[in-house]
């Protein structure tokens, strides 16, 4: 718990000379002993986040988005680019389209690669009759070859979208967003703290703004799939933040009763300890998303795969950044507004000053050899308590499914060993 991790930090410092070699920054990052100070430099991160968000909001307001066909309405025709008489060019397709419908399409392009290469034609909304006529014209003149090897209208895909469809999806998405935010705030407030919920939502706001901003700045097409993808980012972004906060919570448990570490220090330590995990999970999340993106664009050109993967990729990236640089600093700021934590930080300072004066040869605050008597007594008490809890923990961990295994529980109870319940610690391991 709190003291185990803390002792680590200090013990490793102390045993620096016993180490075989000095560590590079990268090694420290890997080991989680990096001592990167995210909290002290928070003003920088805030400023950066503010600038990024301003740029994003500015772009969204002044530049807007590139709406997909679902938002403006229209018809899209897709057919294999391989015709019975050789590859079909976009100009040919345009000509047939204009002949059949009476006006030229608004856009024609070749997308994808290999066997999956398709000609994509977009135009204003066509009637069902017109689409039918167009399909027949395309087949008779260009003979696109479908999956069965023969050319028929079955090889041609069409999609007629009303301009309100995207709006309808967006409207529902906004309702979903509101509901999710309420639920997740309740969830975080119950299982963590209200301050953590607030900090997590700040990070979330950053993720959503930057992801939407990137779409606006780069001009990626926004489709309903993008909107839904954006919403699932919420889950991932919070996933990252929750993992960091869980560690912060663990590191700062009973912090107020001790005077060895301030809240910002404990939070920073938690950040360092989870840093490698944050990076790791981001990489592992991005690997499949990247594969999806490359294949989606490379083979299919555009569509659901690309839309979902792109928005996820941007969102995961933003989510990682915000959970490291934004969520925890905000949490620290919110927490340090409380007098109790300020008071504790002052105690830590004064004690450290004292410690330096009285015993300069050892900087170990943990040994309890120096400092004010009352503090030490308090610390020792906490130690003893934590120790008991540790024991209980190990006992409990030895039987993870103890609600499944009644026999084990009885046996342990018979031995008179507490299984962790007596500590009042949330075990959180009830399984369904």
């Amino acid at each position: 718990m709190a003291e185990s991790t803390e002792t680590t930090g200090q013990t490793t410092e102390q045993t620096e000379e016993t180490r075989p070699r000095r560590q590079s920054k990268l090694t420290k990052l890997y080991l989680g002993t990096g001592g990167f100070d995210f909290i002290r430099t928070k003003k920088m991160w805030y400023a950066a986040a503010a600038v990024i968000m301003l740029i994003c909001i500015g772009s969204m307001v002044f530049r807007g988005f590139t709406p997909g066909i679902e938002f403006v309405g229209g018809t899209e025709i897709q057919m294999p680019a391989q015709g019975a008489q050789g590859p079909i060019s976009t100009t040919e397709a345009e000509r047939v389209f204009a002949d059949a419908v009476g006006h030229p399409p608004s856009a024609t392009q070749l997308v994808g690669a290999g066997n999956s290469q398709t000609v994509e034609i977009q135009s204003q909304t066509l009637t069902v009759g017109e689409i039918d006529e167009l399909k027949r014209a395309l087949v008779s003149e260009l003979k696109p070859v479908g999956i069965g090897g023969e050319s028929s209208t079955d090889a041609i895909s069409d999609s007629n979208v009303s301009g309100s469809w995207g709006g309808e999806i967006t409207r529902q998405a906004i309702i979903a967003l509101a509901v999710f935010l309420v639920l997740v705030t309740v969830f975080l407030s119950i299982f963590f703290e209200r301050r953590m919920a607030a900090a997590a939502l700040t990070a979330l706001a950053f993720d959503l703004t930057t992801t939407a901003g990137v779409y606006s700045i780069v001009g990626f097409e926004v489709t309903p799939a993008t909107v839904i993808g954006l919403l699932t980012i919420l889950g991932y972004s919070l996933y990252d933040t929750v993992v960091v906060f869980d560690k912060v919570k663990e590191n700062t448990k009973g912090l107020l009763d001790l005077s060895r570490q301030t809240y910002p220090e404990a939070a920073n330590l938690a950040l360092n300890q989870t840093l490698m995990r944050s990076i790791n999970t981001s990489v592992t999340s991005l690997l499949p998303v990247g594969a999806l993106l490359v294949i989606g664009v490379g083979l299919l050109g555009a569509g659901t795969l690309k839309d979902l993967a792109l928005v996820q990729a941007i969102g995961i990236f933003a989510g990682t950044l915000s959970s490291i640089f934004l969520a925890t600093p905000v949490l620290v700021d919110l927490t340090m507004r409380q007098p109790a934590y300020q008071e504790q930080a002052r105690r830590v300072e004064s004690r450290r000053a004292l410690g330096k004066r009285t015993s300069s040869q050892t900087a170990r605050a943990t040994a309890g050899l120096s400092g004010t008597e009352s503090d030490d007594e308090l610390d020792d008490e906490r130690y003893a308590e934590e120790l008991r809890q540790e024991k209980a923990f190990v006992a409990a961990s030895a039987v993870p499914g103890r609600n499944l295994k009644k026999s084990d529980q009885r046996r342990l109870a018979g031995k008179g060993k507490p299984t962790g319940k007596s500590t009042g610690r949330p075990t959180g391991k009830r399984r369904r």
Binding site: T11, T12, T15, T18, P20, L31, G32, G73, G74, P80, T125, T127, V128, G129, G146, I147, G148, D154, I156, S159, N160, V161, S162, G163, W165, A176, F180, V184, F192, P224, A225, T232, L234, G235, Y236, Y239, V242, D246, E250, T274, M276, R277, N280, T281, T284, L286, L287, P288, I295, T304, L305, L308, A309, A367, L387, V394, A395, A398, G401, G428
Partner: protein, 578 residues
């Protein structure tokens, strides 16, 4: 502080897991069709899907009853197509029609059929584009015929039944602006209603002419024009409405119509057949009992009027969502089955019959999305999804092997088992609750590879934390487990929450995305609890994990041992404190 003898029985967990998996695969292979294939969505196997959004006159939420009724009617129509595997689902305000295979084109017009009403033609047709010549004469009608034979008011024939469905498609597709600008549209509707449904239109005297003139100025009968009153007209008021584009002139004309005298629900059946004593096709209508008597009243009254003004026979208009589909003249009182004759082609007659028969939906629908995916495109989408999944998985295998080494093997095994668990669940869900795996769902599955791995990484990193404090690998595992369990549960809970909220509230095909993400999140927890942890506990007993090069715990082990050494030096008290 050595933990008490490990009492977790990993073998038991694994055995239970294997039993569950075996049971699932047993269900897959020995129940239902026995084929281990998930139900694929239209976008993966090809077919037609149509999404219809209900519209109400005042923009209020349609009642559940009306939606259910509409769904039932559309379902009946889809069944009428005779395509197996077709489905009609109600999802909030949306009705989704899916028709597998290549015979789904017809489904696109099924749902477009909207409210039908019979209105008396008071005056018309007018050409709104040429207001000056408005003479209010009923066209050169030459209703020749037997009982109830009727000919559309224009010598050019009805606007072409073939275009009946399609013409409706166009306004439908652009008709959704009210989602964006509800106020603007509300205003437009109110304005159109005030002018084009003015009570004064029916009065006698000068204000009727004035009102008609204003209405003709207001109405836009140009090609593809969007009628704000579509589906929003008041049946009890007169109406100025356009007809469908006429083949002969390529123009649309306007009619002044009386209130609705008979609603489309009075039609019990309609069919198309060859005209027995003439050329072309005819449409046969039969009415319900109540409809029959009403229809008899109307036609006898109109026939009388026709007799009084032989030059200008009375017409009755079939109005479908403020558009005149057909306006035959009535020369004889009709009791019972009615035939509409005219220069119909077979397709036109069939379409008109369809509209008459099924036009009586309790709600108007807008076609939000109608798409046909060719089997070719579906196959390449599925292919792309599978390739992307394979590559994503391969990258993950590489990364975890490089980074976690032996633990990486465990990670890969867990990932593989998750996949092995997700697959039968999806197959079974497809069979039991009709879950279809669409392209978005496939994307969700691939993206979940990362999330699933996240849980393992949280666990492994936690083990590293413990080792760093000087614990042996073996003693680290239960401690790390106790501590990371909560983290994993709460983090997964957040993802699950997002997925569930999305699944319930979001609309559209990407629902599958939310579903697969939620599903894998739950199954991920099952795997972590029932497989990964027990396997780690077993692995923790192997000496090989203490090998810093193989375990993937590398330098952390080194720190751990140096911590241990220093603790020994600084005395048992400090060591115990950790």
């Amino acid at each position: 502080m050595a933990p008490p003898a490990g009492t977790i029985r990993p073998g038991r967990y694994l055995a239970v897991f294997i039993l569950i998996v075996a049971a699932l695969y047993g269900l897959v292979f020995f129940t239902g069709s026995g084929k281990p294939t998930p139900r694929l969505g239209i976008d993966l196997k090809g077919g037609t899907s149509v999404t219809l959004t209900a519209r109400t006159p005042d923009g209020s939420e349609p009642t559940q009853e009306a939606l259910d009724q509409a769904r039932a009617i559309i379902d009946e129509r889809v069944n009428g197509l005779g395509v197996s595997g077709a489905e009609v689902l109600l999802d909030g305000k949306q009705i989704e029609i899916t028709v597998p295979g290549s015979r789904g084109e017809e489904a696109k017009t099924l749902g477009q059929t909207a409210k039908l009403g019979f209105r008396e033609v008071i005056a018309g047709p007018f050409d709104p584009a040429a207001l000056d010549q408005q003479t209010g004469q009923g066209g050169d009608t030459s209703g020749k015929g037997d009982t109830g034979s009727a000919k559309p008011g224009d010598s050019g024939g009805p606007g072409g039944g073939g275009a009946a469905g399609s013409d409706r498609g166009a306004p439908a597709a652009t008709g959704g602006d009210d989602q964006y600008l509800p106020e603007e549209t509300q205003r437009k509707i109110a304005e159109a209603q005030r002018i084009r449904q003015n009570k004064a239109l029916l009065s006698s005297g000068p204000q009727a002419g004035k009102a008609l003139r204003a209405a003709l100025e207001e109405i836009d009968c140009s090609e593809g024009a969007q009628d704000p009153l579509r589906g929003n007209d008041d049946p009890n008021l007169p109406l100025v409405a356009c007809d469908q584009e006429r083949k002969t002139t390529g123009k649309r004309y306007a009619y002044l119509l009386g209130p609705v005298v008979l609603s489309g629900e009075a039609v019990s059946d309609a069919s198309a057949s060859m005209n027995s004593n003439g050329v072309g096709y005819q449409v046969n209508i039969s009415f319900t009992g109540e409809g029959n008597s009403k229809w008899a009243d109307i036609t006898s009254r109109l026939a009388k009027e026709s007799a009084q003004h032989p030059g200008n026979p009375s017409q009755v208009a079939f109005v479908l969502d403020t558009e005149v589909v057909s306006a035959p003249t009535v020369t004889t009182a009709i009791a019972g089955n009615t035939r509409i004759t005219g220069n119909f082609t077979q397709a036109e007659a069939e379409d008109l019959a369809q509209i008459l028969k099924y036009g009586s939906l309790p709600l108007s629908f807008e076609t939000s999305n109608a798409s046909t995916v060719s089997p070719t495109l579906g196959a390449s989408s599925l292919n792309a999804g599978l390739i992307a999944g394979a590559i994503g998985f391969a990258l993950m295998v590489l990364y975890s092997l490089v980074y976690y080494r032996l633990l990486g093997v465990l990670l890969i095994a867990s990932l593989g088992l998750t996949a092995g668990l997700v697959f039968p669940v999806i197959v079974l869900l497809g069979r039991s609750v009709g879950f279809t795996l669409d392209l978005a769902g496939v994307a969700g599955l691939i993206i979940s590879i990362g999330v699933t791995a996240d849980s393992f990484i949280v666990y492994f990193e936690r083990i590293k934390d413990e080792i760093r404090t000087g614990r042996s690998v073996r003693s680290s595992i239960p401690r790390a487990w106790v501590r990371c369990r909560r983290t994993m549960l709460s983090a997964d809970a957040v993802v699950l929450l997002a997925a569930v909220v999305l699944y319930i509230l979001a609309v559209g095909t990407v629902k599958g995305f939310a579903f697969t993400i939620g599903l894998t999140t739950v199954l991920d927890l099952v795997i972590v609890f029932m497989v990964t942890h027990p396997m780690l506990v077993m692995a923790g007993r192997w000496k090989i994990l203490d090998n810093r090069y193989l375990s993937g715990l590398g330098m952390v082990t080194e720190i751990g041992s140096s911590v241990r050494r220093s603790k020994k030096r600084s005395g048992p008290a400090a060591a115990r404190g950790v």
